[in-house]
Symmetry: C2
Subunit: 341 residues, 2 copies
Amino acid sequence: MTRAKQPTSRDVAALAGVSVATVSYVMNGRTDRRIPAETRDRVLEAARQLAYAPNRSARSLRRRRTEQVCLVVGSIGVPAYDQLAADVHVRADEAGYGVITVVVDSPDRAEKTVGLLHQRIADGVIIAPDVPYLTENSLGGLARSGLPMVVMSNTAVPDGFDVVRAPETAACAEALDHLVGSGRRRIAYMGHEHEFSDSPLSSERLAAYLAALERHGMSRDDDIIVSGADDRVAAYHAATALLNAPDRPDAIFAASGRGAISAIWAARDASLTVPDDVAILGCGNLPESLITQPTLSTVGPPAADDFTEVARLLFDRIAAGVPSKGHEVTEPWIYNRRAST
Amino acid sequence: MTRAKQPTSRDVAALAGVSVATVSYVMNGRTDRRIPAETRDRVLEAARQLAYAPNRSARSLRRRRTEQVCLVVGSIGVPAYDQLAADVHVRADEAGYGVITVVVDSPDRAEKTVGLLHQRIADGVIIAPDVPYLTENSLGGLARSGLPMVVMSNTAVPDGFDVVRAPETAACAEALDHLVGSGRRRIAYMGHEHEFSDSPLSSERLAAYLAALERHGMSRDDDIIVSGADDRVAAYHAATALLNAPDRPDAIFAASGRGAISAIWAARDASLTVPDDVAILGCGNLPESLITQPTLSTVGPPAADDFTEVARLLFDRIAAGVPSKGHEVTEPWIYNRRAST
DNA sequence: CTGTTAGCGCTTTCAG
DNA sequence: CTGAAAGCGCTAACAG
């Protein structure tokens, strides 16, 4: 088998007996240039015959845009990221854009990614929440280079890019106060792995938890501050361990929805009643929260995650063409009290 | 704010007092050209000063490769796709490639995607299992155009691309025979949405189910052939409906792992015992299968999903450069009997 | 050891 | 209405 050389617009032009300019106009279906149907059909037929498709790199080089956006996430398989990815894909598709996904889960990846973005691998970028190792510094540099960017973060401040925030702290505080107010005296925290490493990422949820302990004169007990929220299986094991300990907590605050759902299962499997024996509180707002027994209380958006607005911000910015100082958008986060607390 | 024009290699060359060729060699760290440290440092310093990064489109055009691979999936948020995406990202990263993800969930998207691939948006492509609407015809066309490709499918036949298969039918048959052999007389099927539309995609799992009914002289009852396997919430509701019906099934075969797990929950919430009252069988091999009560029997790979081999196939093919007829690789699928059947 | 130069394939003025 | 020609920014011969 020999690799057939890809046909170029020149080949099509030759076959159709026109110039490459005409081929370009026809292929792009441009209306600002009046082309007789006869000519157009001849070009189209030649293109079909040769299975011609305009080369994307060449077009990008010439038009100075790639028609790709880049979505930067911290890992794969997190429901909120999946929803974000889905929403971005839909919007991108509408705008005729493709989506390049990059996973940043190490300082090395973070650095490489910033490099790629500088190389104009995409016309815009969305940084998902809690992507570690991306410094404000490098983000600022990217924005300054003219790359449209929307950053989901509670700490970043708009600086040539848009920032989307979620007021986690207030919502966590409200939920934790409610837990204490309803008599919980030993509240466990199940966090993400990276909260327990020496990641540069500070955890708003853990901070809110610790602040609540302080506020209510409760002492911190590292035995019931555990990881596991990243992953259903780990969460199940972590919750099981917590609930089988001699000094069992009477509430578990999980930093994810999946963690909380696994905790409900762990409690049931340990023959404990939720919320009587142990209250369970999660983060986010997974659709599943409504089908658990009991239904899961969470701190999160009032309805299911929806990131279409975030995608819209990016495409508006791309369309605008000219960099602006940057908006700051706040998505609501509240205490969704249901039956598990 | 004015958008700073991106610096080019010419700018760097001028600042460093060298030619663009030297800049190129330095930036690519090429060892086949001996460049004195002094010159190199000057170039690097100039690049740093201008925040120069080589333009990706130009490089792709010139080198005739994009250093991107494309992953085509049917939807977002399916655990098996997530695992595939994760494995592809890891391999790609090692190979210095990026990953463009495209979601094909309509005939329209399928067509557009084939078009993009023809435009050489990527140097290779992996088609995930069960991506609908992609015809063998268009895949063949892509392969013939010289695009390295690995297709996960049980029906496609290698034709300039590699095919990765999973012998689902045999494994399903074994599991279903076991269900019948252990006395199950009314087995429900919970499938994917697309099995109930007029999608061109035939379902091997549904076919295996129907064949098993036939084989054992059981009659098909469309009341217990339902959808819901795509989504945990839908599955929970579907299973609940099934289990509360007057003529309750004594087994549920779900075409996904998530569907089966939701079915276990639904059974427990309906105060039924698994497997005594109802056996539950899933597909795939989610890690969660081991933490459900009882543990979940599945038809699927013997261990957790692992697609690194698939990614390897693609990168081998890309590295080879020359198109070959195509390998056919079969991943094992078996009946993983655990406690739920 | 380094610079000059010819494109990669396309889009888009600008002339005809 | 159509074609010629000038690049987009980079890489890789090739010549010095």
